[in-house]
């Protein structure tokens, strides 16, 4: 009887080990299937057949399939204990002691040899280590799992960047919308040019079109799109500066400088609308005999300004949206962004003179308008008379509304930190918002205007009057200048009278 008890306890040990190994094998099979499916899906995703990995829960399906399949395989390939013992007998050269003893134990076959048989088998089992009885060796399946794991890691790390794996649908939608905007802009531009007069496409317009096409490439990541936009924006800004300097030089060298009543504005800071007004003004002043080079320069600047605004807005929205996206306000944010962007396009340079519902001409861009409409920004900006902003002023007056006289050193360039009102901080280093801050004066926080706008007008008016009284302006230009000031808001009878 003791032989039987001993044998049963030894068999129980083997059973436990078999169960552990079965679980191990099941997990191994599951890993193998999971990694195979994963590899397959990555390849499919890379080939563009599916965008399976975009979903955050992509791993649930392969995991479920793997575990189910492994469980099924485990059940189908479940080994009988007797067969395991036969295998152990053969492997350890136990001459079928274990299998025979277990069979006689299991089926309770009565024979005089049963006790001896089990005792003998138990004695043999005691001499053998459990590890030897049911060894957990390194099989080719383990090797296969390792190989697949390496392949997966390689595919993840080299083919997909980590950011791509965390890309969300809203981000993709943003990329898509940005691409659409660029395309729409390009198409509209081409259409408008076709209606007006055929002109050769500029380098930057071509680049913009190219960028628009790049947005259709699904292989490029969100970050890559933003980086491309950023780079192009910087390039446009650089070209703007160059052209502005060139324009300034041309204006200086042309006969316009001889106009005594007008100081040459800093072309670098001129917005699209300001450029347009400048062009109109020069046309009127020079009786439509403005030099072609200056005209082309202004047109190029206008075009670049429009491109820059579009790019700035797209970059701002892409970058801001990325950090602010959450599930709750995702859809609302997108709608707002879309409407904003659409509005911007409607006010784009190809349709710059469309009146707003209030009958006035729209500002350069929505963001610019929003910022200039803030309290304390000054009437000129609020009313959209930006040309005046861009013009130089007599010495002793700062560019900041309401700041009063300033140092001569600070006159030429605006320094936000030295401005009386706190400038609205901008997050984007390369966006248009920063450069915009430089030439928007009196950009203070809400309710922080220091002086009333009438006082600012008084200053301007006195300056104009002093110029007029000095008779620096030829008589035949006085009418134009008067009309100009009337057009920018000094159109009351009183003002008109004063001018006279």
């Amino acid at each position: 009887m003791s032989g039987k008890i001993s044998f049963v306890s030894q068999i129980a040990k083997i059973k436990r080990r078999i169960v552990i190994q079965a679980i191990h094998r099941m997990l191994l099979n599951a890993s193998l299937i999971f990694l195979s499916i994963s590899t397959f899906l990555i390849i499919l995703t890379k080939a563009g057949i599916t965008d399976y990995y975009i979903m955050a829960t992509w791993y649930f399906v392969p995991s479920g399939i793997s575990l189910s399949a492994a469980l099924l395989i485990g059940l189908v390939r479940k080994r009988n204990l007797l067969n395991v013992l036969i295998e152990i007998d053969g492997r350890l050269k136990l001459q079928d002691r274990l299998s025979t003893a277990y069979e006689y134990l299991k089926f309770k076959t009565q024979t005089e040899f049963s006790e001896l048989l089990m005792n003998d088998a138990a004695a043999k089992l005691r001499q053998i280590d459990n590890q030897q009885l049911v060894p957990a060796g390194f099989s080719w399946l383990h090797m296969l799992v390792i190989i697949l794991l390496i392949i997966n890691i390689f595919l993840y790390s080299s083919i997909f960047s980590p950011l791509e794996l965390t890309s969300t649908h809203p981000e993709l939608r943003k990329i898509e919308t940005a691409g659409k905007l660029l395309k729409d802009y390009t198409i509209r531009r081409i259409d408008n040019k076709a209606v007006r007069k055929p002109k050769p496409q500029s380098v930057y317009a071509a680049k913009l079109e190219q960028l628009s096409n790049q947005f259709n490439d699904s292989a490029r990541s969100f970050e890559q799109h933003v980086a491309a936009l950023d780079s192009f924006l910087k390039e446009v800004q650089g070209e703007q500066t160059r052209l502005a300097n060139e324009l300034g030089g041309r204006l200086d060298s042309a006969a316009i400088k001889e106009l005594p009543s007008l100081k040459i504005p800093d072309a670098t800071n001129l917005s699209h609308r300001q450029l347009e007004k400048l062009k109109e003004f020069l046309d009127q002043t020079l009786n439509n005999r403005m030099p072609d080079a200056i005209s082309r320069n202004i047109e190029s600047l206008m075009e670049l300004d429009a491109i820059e605004k579009l790019l700035s807005q797209i970059v701002d929205d892409l970058k801001d949206g990325r950090s602010m996206i959450d599930d709750s306000n995702e859809s609302a944010g997108n709608e707002e962004w879309m409407s904003q962007t659409t509005e911007t396009l409607e006010n784009s340079p190809d349709g710059p003179n469309k009146p707003n519902p209030d009958g006035q001409f729209s500002d350069d861009s929505r963001s610019a308008a929003d910022r200039s409409d803030q309290p304390g920004s000054g009437k000129l900006q609020r009313d959209g008379h930006d040309l005046q902003d861009g013009m130089a002023h007599p010495e002793g007056y700062s560019d900041s509304a309401g700041s009063g006289p300033s140092n001569a050193e600070n006159k030429s360039s605006y320094e936000p930190e030295k401005a009386p009102g706190a400038a609205i901080p901008d997050k984007m280093a390369s966006s248009r918002a920063k450069s915009y801050l430089i030439h928007i004066r009196a950009l203070t926080g809400i309710g922080e205007a220091r002086l009333k706008e009438e006082e600012i007008f008084q200053t301007y008016r006195k300056e104009v009057e002093s110029i007029l009284q000095k008779e620096d302006i030829p008589m035949n230009y006085r009418e134009y200048i008067k009309n100009y000031f009337i057009s920018i808001g000094i159109n009351t009878e009183e003002n008109t009278h004063e001018f006279k």
């Binding site: 001459q95 079928d96 299998s99 025979t100 069979e103 005089e112 040899f113 048989l117």
Partner: protein, 327 residues
């Protein structure tokens, strides 16, 4: 004596027998082991070997060691069944009354040496059938029991074909084993020379009696055999049939008739004794493989092609073993 001691006694007795035989027989350990297995399985053996290898000597020596009644029958072409079984003879008593009295033939022994069995006609060979299978002899309607343990050890010369009669299938199937005596190697030959040509004295001692043999025989059938061993054995025997799906190409090509059910019985019983001789209480696959050739080689009849090409049946048995799963 408990069971464990009985099993141990079998090993011990076999060791004693082998040692005694080693006094006069050089080498042939496997043959001696198989002969002992035959004895405990209540079987008969056909020993095949060229003349001069000591076939007769082994049988005679064994009878002395086991203290069994020994009979030798020299099979010749003119040998009649009555010469083996015995016959009724007329006997006259003192008053002049005559009656038939059964005169027992040489078959009425315990260890029978049927020397050169293939020299007698099939009719005479068949006289052994009942004795070998039933342990009885029927003569003129009267049945006579043979004294147990009864064992026939037949010899035959594989070379001489002239004037011989191959054993009929029914006869040959009744032999538990067909044993082959191999030619001794040089060292063994040298020992043979020393023992036979020099002044070598030996005396064979009685090791066992009939009772001890019968007691050991009673133990054999109790040895456990696992089901997978039985399955293996049946597959082994079935694979010897040319019509079986598991038969190899060579079996299909050269075998006329596969092993009979007696072959399976022989394998299992022999496996049991083999296990006991190894001190085990169960039959292992190794035991079956160990006895496969002597148990099957005479039960697999070669066809004409096999005979003419001189196919060795032992090779075919090896082929079956190597092709079987679980081997």
């Amino acid at each position: 004596m408990n069971l464990n001691e009985e099993v141990e006694s079998i090993r011990k007795n076999f060791g004693l027998i082998a040692n005694e035989l080693a006094k006069i027989i050089v080498g042939q350990e496997i043959l001696i082991r198989h002969l002992f297995i035959c004895l405990l399985c209540d079987g008969h053996a056909l020993i095949e070997g060229v003349p001069g290898l000591g076939k007769t000597l082994i049988v005679r020596s064994l009878s002395k060691i086991l203290d069994l009644k020994y009979s030798r029958i020299q099979f010749t072409p003119d040998l009649m069944p009555a010469d083996i079984l015995g016959t009724n003879i007329v006997k006259e008593d003192g008053r002049g009354n005559r009656s038939f009295e059964f005169y027992k033939g040489p078959i009425f022994g315990q260890l029978i040496l049927a020397d050169e069995i293939n020299r007698a006609s099939p009719k005479t060979q068949s006289a052994l059938l009942e004795a070998m299978q039933e342990g009885k002899v029927t003569v003129f309607g009267s049945q006579y029991d043979l004294e147990p343990p009864f064992m026939v050890l037949a010899t035959q010369n594989p070379i001489e074909m002239e004037g011989t009669y191959p054993l009929p299938e029914a006869q040959i199937d009744r032999f538990f084993f067909k044993l082959k005596m191999n030619y001794p190697n040089q060292a063994e030959l040298q020992k043979i020379l020393e023992k036979t040509t020099e002044d070598y004295h030996y005396e064979l001692n009685r090791v066992l009696g009939a009772d001890a043999i019968l007691k050991m025989k009673s133990l054999v059938k109790k040895v456990p055999v696992a089901s997978h061993i039985k399955k293996f054995t049946t597959r082994l025997v079935l694979s010897s049939h040319p019509g079986n799906d598991h038969a190899t190409d060579r079996i299909k090509e050269y075998i006329l008739l596969g092993a009979s059910p007696r072959g399976v019985q022989s394998l299992i019983l022999a496996g049991k004794v083999s296990a006991l001789l190894d001190g085990r209480y169960n039959v292992a696959l190794e035991d079956i493989k160990d006895v496969a050739k002597p148990a099957l080689r005479h039960r697999m009849a070669l066809n004409i092609r096999g005979e003419t090409e001189g196919v060795d049946v032992d090779e075919l048995v090896d082929e079956i073993l190597s092709n079987l799963e679980g081997s």
